[in-house]
Amino acid sequence: MKAYDLAELAVRNLRESVLRNSLTTIGISVGVASLVAMLSLGIGLQQMATRRLVKSGLFDTVVVTSRRDLRNFNRGDDQGGGPDPAESPALDEPSRVKIEQLPNVVEASPDLRFITSFTYDDKPHLTMVAGIPGSYRTNDAFEGMQGNFFSSDNAPEVILQKSFAADLLGKTAKPGTEEVPVADLAKPLLGKEMTMRYAEQVDGNRASGSSAGEPKAPDVASAATNYSIVSHELKLKIVGVTDLDPDSMRGPVRARVLLPLKLVQSLHVVQPTALRDTTQATSKVPTYATVSVRVKDPAKIQAVEDSIKKMGFNTFSMLDATRSLRRFFTILDLFLGIFGSLALAVASIGIVNTLVMAILERRREIGIMKAIGASDGDVMTLFFAEAGVMGAFGGAVGVALGWTIGRLINAGTNIYLRRQDLSPEQIWFVPWWLVGGAIVFAIIVSLISGLYPAARAARLDPVQALRYE
């Protein structure tokens, strides 16, 4: 039979017992709907996680350290068999520029951090300071921050981490007590000034500091070698208080006081590596303990890492973490898919039942068709077509139903999130391949269910079928 005739006959036959076939089709729809809802939630969750992780900057970042720095991340692990640490290049400004010019690299920013003391309200506070590049404006570390990000890359401004803000106000949360909301901490601090005391590294040839800020009376600490260390004070305006957990893994953000990176660079604060590089007397350009390299696309991390290693540096990235994350979601999707498919499996039994019933009911009709010239194949394809049409209808309705269910779950979740004062999230996503795939899957499951009934109908003996009235 021709395909169109076949489809027409199949639809006509299905309409003959419309209630039973509708119920069977609804069964398939529910199966497909549960499959679509489960998978769309799995995919949505994965996208949400990826989105958040990309925002965190953990998965597109390569941390570069010098091989001279023997306290590297992969201690004892031979990274690419480069030269001896003593002969490897220093991680200085020219190297940083070279790294930044590598393909797929967005930026390479030095990780500048030091411990120093601040004076606020005439009380000194000692803590860790870090320089933050302007590109971190969109990093999720600053989500929920009170106040604003730095107005420019070298503004004399400061963002505080909330536990340090609590320290400044003398409101340090005791263990077991509830934390003070970040808004309450920020209110008295935003716009206020505090003073940072720091040690500038001044080149031996230059007599006194010429850097930014308001250097006070320079008291020379050492002038024995190539540079001197000069103590300075700098007034900073508090522009923001972050809601960030100080112990979270945040790369450059992992400090209690954050300054604009350009500002920190211009201060020439003594770095722990300075002393070592001085003794090896290689250069007078700034050297860095670590450089954070941001990569265009997490998938390019491996390539970027390899080329940096070729330059003679050690690297570290969270690449393995993304891999295991992806594996986790693949397994999650698999399980969600299996649970979703269970309903479809039950529905397929319904198809078998409906078609076997149809054979009993249409025994005579099959006999007539055979008597007037239908072949076994004609009868078989007709039953197949009926199963396929039920699958196609059920699949289409099921996708729409699953889409709606996913949307409702998403809406419900967002209402809950809003009650908890959290920003809404898209935890549900139906890609086009899922729409097409679910319908095709429903048709395939239906055809498989139709296998036995169709074969049975095809083998029906016409003489027997026509014998009884």
């Binding site: 003959e16 007539i368 068709m369 055979k370 007037i372 010239g373 072949s375 076994d376 004609d378 003489v463």
Partner: protein, 228 residues
Amino acid sequence: MGESLIRAVDGISIEVPAGEFVALLGTSGSGKSSLLNLVAGLDRPTSGAVIVEGKDLARLSREDLAKHRLHTVGMVFQSFNLIPSMTVIENVELPLRFAEVDRNQRDSLAREALEKVGLSRRLSHRPTELSGGEQQRTSLARALINRPKLLLADEPTGNLDSRTGTEIMNLIRDFNESLGMTIVMVTHERALAGQYAQRLILLADGKLVDDQSNVATASTTSSSGGRA
């Protein structure tokens, strides 16, 4: 245990030349319907040969038997055997669907066949809405649609009153005379058979009892020695 073997058609050898009108007579259980099913290709003999148009149906594959039913023979039944969910015209064109004939062509062929049996109205009615005579005309049109050489009729007037029965029989005789179709009709009514058929074959208990044949010309259709 084991089923006892029933020989429905036993040791019968008949030859039917093209264009003949043959009546198979016998009481119920005489094997006349079984013989008809063998010629129709609905059933296969356990031994012997059924040769139609030079082909031994006993040796054909299931696929080829279906083709034989589709193109070589047309069947008419006592209970009409129309598909209740289809309209008159859909019933008539159904064999054309299996023959993979185009839609447009199907419609005109079906109307043509229906005209031949004198049914040109009520084409979109369902069989249950028709009288017995109209139903049998529909089933005759269906049997004609693929222009078969052989028409097999199993008690075609059995469910009809005598007047409509006569109308149907006249139609069948007309096909035999004007289209040159070979007719094999099963009936238990001796009078009806004597009125229309050119040859009367009497069966009893699966065996040939009498063959009053007066016409014997070129043999294209033959059936010999079947056991089922």
